[in-house]
């Protein structure tokens, strides 16, 4: 089996760089990592075959330097480049720059990226492919009177969304007509500040929506297949926290309908490679939201159920291979994101990982860049890794995720793990009856029985320290716990020597 490429540059960092590297290594493709000043010790550097320094800690000084990265790829003799997600992944100009070189860009054409990056144009394409849209306007309208009239037609509440936006950013909800003018002005200002483009468009606010997306894969020969859906409604601040597949409320008919719609859109725009069509789902209906022209963070749950390696498929298809009909989906898969953040407030948490042990056993996959000694810096996304489980059915998958999460030991930063446990324990989640509002409805504070246990453990550890010191010193001395325990450990080691 000849590898589809000889040497692959991975223009990314973090867990996705590592994930791509693992598949490349298994396929016999050499990997070249790039790294910023603060990433010299990162796992994606240490696990690569080769590594090249590309600049400062700020993304603009390193991972966003498209021209420089492309030059590195050429210099290193790479015949392919994987952009991962974020950074250069949906940068049409960068894809353009690669197009004329010996370095194959692992993604769709610059045209497709550009089209889908413009939310107004993307809606138009979806519409002409016969993909249902949320009732609303497909175009930016500057005239406030027209805007008011359209909003009245659609019916309040409505949303104003940045045409160039994405990832949940630049969205304003308008409850009634008197709020519309102010909201329009603010939305345009935000859109301009955030995306350098002040166009906004109007959409109906779908009530209690679910976020359901379809994974597609298209080849260069005009064939497209889909790998079913991912349910991504568990979000905080419009950022996904937990994803699962299959979605509990999709019927086989609806799944087929959504899958076909996604494939039609891909064909409509001449899409090649892996892509995700995001839908809003509500009360048996689905509406086109946007198309992400890259690998998604949550792609592993699809891999677990369909027994497919989506990165391997990306590589195969970029080398001219034809898509293969997916095998039937088996069982249920859940992913949670392990972010360095306060589980109650979702504010970022920085620090150095001082203790780490990772989960194991059947049906557990960890895609993470965690290591003891890792310094979590403020420069990049807070996601440190993803924990993915697969099991025969949803209840078992939930139980397995709970089991795996509680096996993790991770100290040095706060993480999203407790928030994920709250979701798993929530009755609505367990019933499969939830929407994008679920996290707001869940009490994220620590359960009382855990508090009691923690208090007992902390007091006991403190007492035990004092007791041991007393036994060895002859009298109880107040000593700082942290250093004291190491001392006690040594004392006990001495006592426990084999007789």
């Amino acid at each position: 089996m000849t590898p589809p490429f000889k040497r692959l540059l991975i223009a990314n960092r973090g867990e996705i760089a590592l994930r791509i590297m693992r598949t490349a290594r298994e396929l016999g493709i050499e990997t070249v990592a790039v790294y910023s000043d603060v990433d010299r010790n990162a796992l994606h550097v240490r696990r690569a075959d080769r590594a090249v320094h590309i600049g400062g800690a700020l993304p603009a000084e390193s991972y966003l330097r498209g021209e420089h990265i492309l030059a590195v790829a050429k210099d290193q003799g790479c015949d392919a480049l994987h952009p991962g997600y974020g950074f250069l992944a949906e940068n049409a100009d960068f894809a353009d720059a690669c197009a004329g070189t010996s370095v194959t860009f692992l993604g769709p054409s610059p045209q497709a990226i550009r089209l889908m990056g413009d939310k107004v144009e993307a809606r138009k394409a979806a519409d002409s492919a016969g993909v249902p849209l949320v009732p609303g306007m497909k175009e930016d309208v500057q005239d406030i009177a027209t805007l008011k009239q359209k909003a009245a037609e659609i019916g309040y509440p409505v949303m104003l969304k940045a045409a160039a936006g994405g990832g949940g950013k630049g969205i304003r909800i308008v409850e009634s007509e008197d709020q519309l003018e102010d909201a329009d002005r603010l939305a345009r200002a935000e859109a301009l500040a955030g995306f350098g483009d002040d166009r906004v468009y109007l959409e109906k606010l779908v009530s209690r929506p679910r976020h359901v997306e379809i994974q597609i894969m298209a080849d260069q020969h005009g064939s497209v297949v889909h790998y079913g859906e991912r349910e991504c409604s568990v979000q905080r601040r419009h950022q996904k926290l937990l994803e699962e597949t299959p979605c509990t409320v999709l019927t086989d008919e609806l799944r087929a309908e959504m899958g076909e719609a996604a494939c039609r859109l891909a064909l409509e725009v001449g899409y090649v490679g892996a892509g995700t069509v995001e839908f809003l789902y509500s009360e048996g209906k689905f509406y086109f939201l946007e198309m992400n022209t890259r690998l998604q963070v949550e792609h592993p749950i699809t891999e677990m159920c369909y027994g497919v390696d989506l990165v391997a498929e990306q590589l195969r298809i970029a080398a001219g291979g034809a898509v293969e009909q997916p095998r039937p989906s088996q069982g249920h898969s859940i992913e949670v994101r392990i972010n360095a953040e306060d589980p109650e407030t979702f504010l970022p948490s920085l620090g150095t990982i001082t203790r780490l042990s990772t989960p194991g056993g059947p049906g557990v996959r960890l895609d993470a860049v965690l290591y003891r000694g890792l310094e979590v810096t403020p420069y990049y996304d807070s996601m440190l890794g993803k924990l993915i489980v697969h099991a025969d059915d949803r209840p078992r998958a939930i139980a397995r995720m709970r089991r795996a999460l509680t096996e993790i030991r991770l100290l040095g930063v706060l993480t999203s793990i407790p928030a994920c446990l709250r979701v798993l324990d929530d009755a609505s989640f367990q019933a499969g009856d939830y929407d994008t509002g679920i996290l707001d409805c869940i009490d994220r504070s620590v359960p009382i029985e855990i508090e009691e246990l923690a208090a007992l453990a902390a007091a006991t550890a403190r007492y035990r320290g004092t007791e041991r010191i007393a036994a060895h010193d002859g009298a109880a001395q107040p000593v700082r716990p942290a250093s004291r325990w190491v001392l006690i450990d040594r004392m006990e080691k001495l006592e426990q020597r084999p007789r």
Binding site: L350, P378, D381, R409, L410, I417, V446, L456, A457, A459
Partner: protein, 168 residues
């Protein structure tokens, strides 16, 4: 000796004794039979409570103790009787200078006050950017800005002094 724990505003106190080698804890009207064993490098413990097994990390950093158990992370303040007495004596604190420090490393995205400004409780002093997120740093009490240790655009380490306030 009594041990006082505080989680949020909920306090629990514990006393311990040995009953024939067995460690016993008392809190309120509850009694627990314990077996605590240290694992590895001094912060991990395996704790049996009346035969129930708990794998815990008890990480004491300064006055604060972090307990990790069953996937949860709980901040616990622990004091013994002596420490509590000492802290009660020091408790009745009056005005004076207070230094606001960075609660995380980050980049100063915006500096909202100047030396001489009077600030109110909860007023934003500056915005610290970390992981693409804007985090407002607020005054925990009214006062006057007497010194600013940083500037807009600067990267600051965790715990770095940011602003000195003279409290009213």
């Amino acid at each position: 000796m009594k041990y006082f724990t505080k989680i949020g505003d909920r306090e629990r106190d514990f006393t311990f004794e040995r009953q024939g080698g067995q460690l016993v804890a008392h809190t309120g009207d509850k009694t627990y039979h314990l077996d605590l064993s240290l694992v590895g490098d001094g912060t991990a413990f395996t704790l049996l409570v009346d035969g129930s097994s708990h794998d815990v990390v008890v990480d004491a950093v300064e006055a604060q103790t972090l307990v990790q158990v069953r996937g949860e992370l709980v901040k616990v303040e622990v004091q013994d009787e002596r420490e509590r007495t000492a802290s009660e004596v020091a408790g009745a604190r009056v005005g004076g200078k207070r230094t606001v420090v960075a609660s995380m490393p980050g980049i100063v995205a915006e500096l909202s006050v100047q030396v001489g400004d009077a600030v109110e409780d909860g007023q934003t002093l500056l915005i610290l950017e970390a992981m693409k997120m804007q985090n407002p740093i607020q005054a925990e009490g009214a006062g006057t800005v007497v010194k600013i240790h940083t500037q807009a655009g600067a990267a600051v380490a965790n715990g770095a002094p940011l602003v000195d306030l003279d409290e009213d």
